[in-house]
Symmetry: C2
Subunit: 217 residues, 2 copies
């Protein structure tokens, strides 16, 4: 069989027409990003821990644009005096330092962090951070992150939700079927669609990075 | 006002009558028992780990009648060669050894246990147990316990469930509202009403021993 340019053009035209006819997929699916314990630092605290004039080393971009994992890790201690070592520093620097741990971690440290939205550190738990050049005793800033979903304004339209809404999520793709209630929606033009959970939630439901959960309608 | 014996008798009669009229409270509430990682041992494995003729030391009765925590702890290791120390031995001895860990633990050990009902160890994960007198390399027996509820036949009648049923549970009394699906019902005359979850489930929902969850009708 001879394949002419005209025949190829006809096939391509047909495929393109089919693609245009396919309705935009309406889905309730959200991919999971699992947050291990990590530390955000203010410039002052960073310099106390690593030395005056130190600059954090970019190691890997995270899924949310502008956020990155640093080469640097630190040690956490609490009243138990049992340390958690190798806690990843995330960039960029922030106005206030913040330590996000799981409830499992909190028992090891003997700290009592509230479940909070990132950034809302007022009255949260104290914790001590050990660095190679110094120690920072945070009076507040240790939290357990709430369950939340990052999305763009376009995603918000597709899902029919708005920034600050709370929705329910079915985590059915892991080893133990689970529903999470009151999951916070965060909408920003720089956000990529992703539900962030900590390691306790991930391991409870048997999910990992890239697992898919669904919004309960 | 004079309080006569007759008046007191009248009041007591009235109260007793009211109590008898009050219908038996129908509740969907189940108390939580959190299972930390633990080890059940066969007699042979116990003697390999602790020495010929050794007897486990009863330390504390557990909530389920006949079950007890032993003074003895052991060390677990897996392919990661990172040990988990101080893992509690539970009695009494069983036909087969069984190691119950959380998914969080499984990452530290680098073992891949299935989510299973206790006792169903066929084809489950291998793990190594280190004792003071010897080492047991279990070919199978390492599991992540499924979510399950122990109850008596009387409880089963009240709840309208039967042994082997699967139900859903709302865990709303902790820090993060959660529903668990497909929770296994286990009915036995020696069981006391209690839902057993592992530390991942407990810390995900922010529950502890004695927290109350409810059966979804």
């Amino acid at each position: 069989m001879e394949i002419t340019t005209a025949a190829v053009a006809e096939i391509v035209k047909k495929i393109v027409a089919e693609m245009e006819e396919t309705p935009k997929q309406v889905t309730n699916e959200v991919p999971i990003g699992v947050s291990n314990r990590h530390i955000h630092l203010s410039k002052d605290d960073m310099e106390t821990l690593f030395g005056k004039g130190y600059e954090l080393t970019h190691m890997k971009d995270l899924s949310q644009p502008g956020q990155f994992a640093c080469k640097e890790t630190l040690t956490l201690v609490g009243p138990s005096m049992r340390a958690i070592e190798g806690v990843r520093v995330l960039g960029p620097l922030r106005k206030n330092s913040q330590v996000e741990i799981s409830m499992t971690d909190s028992f090891q440290l003997k700290v009592k962090p509230p479940v909070r939205e990132s950034g809302k550190i007022e009255g949260s738990a104290p914790v001590t951070i050990i660095g190679p050049k110094g120690i920072v005793e945070l009076k507040e800033g240790c939290i357990i992150a709430n369950r939340h979903i990052h999305m763009s304004p376009d995603d918000a339209v597709v899902f029919g939700v708005a920034d600050g809404d709370y929705i329910d999520i079915d985590a059915f793709s892991g080893t133990r079927k689970t529903r999470w209630f009151d999951v916070q929606i965060r909408v920003h033009k720089d956000f990529r669609l992703e539900m962030h959970i900590d390691t306790d939630d991930a391991n409870s439901a048997g999910l990992k990075n890239g697992s898919v959960v669904t919004i309960v309608k």
